[in-house]
């Protein structure tokens, strides 16, 4: 089982503070065939990503298998200040999940 990593980054942009998430995940569609065995690779993809800003859920994304491998997803926060708490949680269709906590870093 490959290791799942998750990273978050915040940066000040014209439209507000942007939060970018990078999750290491195969995002298998279930339509690919394993070249060695000739068998279909079962679908394995993230279904939901939830973002909390200072303890409050601000956005939930339902994702399908059409999201690219190692998803990079971006959001814009409202009224974000340096040091604000962020928490990200994802689950996939095979029951795997992970949580990452961080802060808004505008330094």
């Amino acid at each position: 089982m490959a290791e799942r990593k998750m990273k978050m980054r915040t940066r000040q942009q014209a439209g507000g503070v942007e939060l970018q998430l990078l999750i290491t995940h195969p995002m298998e569609t279930g339509q690919r065939t394993d070249k060695n065995t000739g068998k279909k690779i079962p679908p394995h993809f993230i279904q939901r990503v939830t973002v909390e800003h200072n303890g409050k859920v601000i956005v939930t994304v339902n994702t399908g298998a059409a999201v690219s491998e190692d998803p990079l997803i971006g959001f814009r926060l409202k009224d974000a200040k340096h040091g604000d708490k962020l928490k990200v949680f994802w689950t996939d269709n095979q029951g795997e999940s992970a949580t990452l906590e961080g802060t808004v870093d505008l330094s």
């Binding site: 409050k56 601000i58 059409a66 690219s68 997803i73 959001f75």
Partner: protein
């Protein structure tokens, strides 16, 4: 593909029974939620992963399964940023932002993908903005659908996919 199994009809409406029940229940739930003021973004967030919408094979079916209606109007307030030509069809970067008050949700669809729905974000405090990378099977229109003020606003753009493609 059409199903040839005949569903039992409701004697009053002549709708297939299952469809009739679904319509009635959906209306009842909406009415109930609306009248008691329970309809908040938080309520939408608690919903299940929309399996039917992700399984739909046609764009219209997917929009309908997700939002309950496929009626959407083109809007310049919805900004969709996507390449006109995808260099790598398995990593197509899209950016959607909506200059609308009370953005409830943003959904991304690729019309000619086997399942058009890519992602569906529900907002409860974040700005109406979403960026992601997605896979495209072939050249297709990309749709950004924004739900704001109870209505669907849409922007679309054609993205060309050349050599390669998914598993090609």
């Amino acid at each position: 593909m059409k199903s040839f199994i005949k569903l039992p009809e409701d004697p009053v409406t002549h709708l297939p029974r299952r469809q009739f029940l679904k319509n009635t229940l959906a209306t009842a739930v909406l009415l109930g939620a609306g009248s008691t003021g329970l309809f908040r973004p938080g309520w939408a967030l608690a919903a299940e992963w929309p399996k039917d919408a992700f399984a739909a094979k046609a764009l219209e079916d997917a929009v309908k399964a997700l939002f309950g209606t496929a009626e959407m109007s083109p809007s310049t307030a919805v900004k969709l940023k996507a390449p006109t030509q995808a260099e790598n069809s398995s990593q197509v970067q899209v950016q959607i932002s909506a200059d609308l008050p009370d953005v409830e949700a943003i959904a991304v669809f690729v019309e000619k993908n086997p399942s058009p729905l890519v992602a569906h974000a529900s907002f409860a405090g974040a700005s109406g903005y979403l960026s992601a990378r997605m896979k495209m099977g072939q050249t297709s229109d990309v749709y950004a659908v924004v739900k704001a003020g109870g209505k669907l606003h849409m922007a679309k753009q054609n993205v060309k996919v050349t050599a390669g493609g998914c598993g090609g």
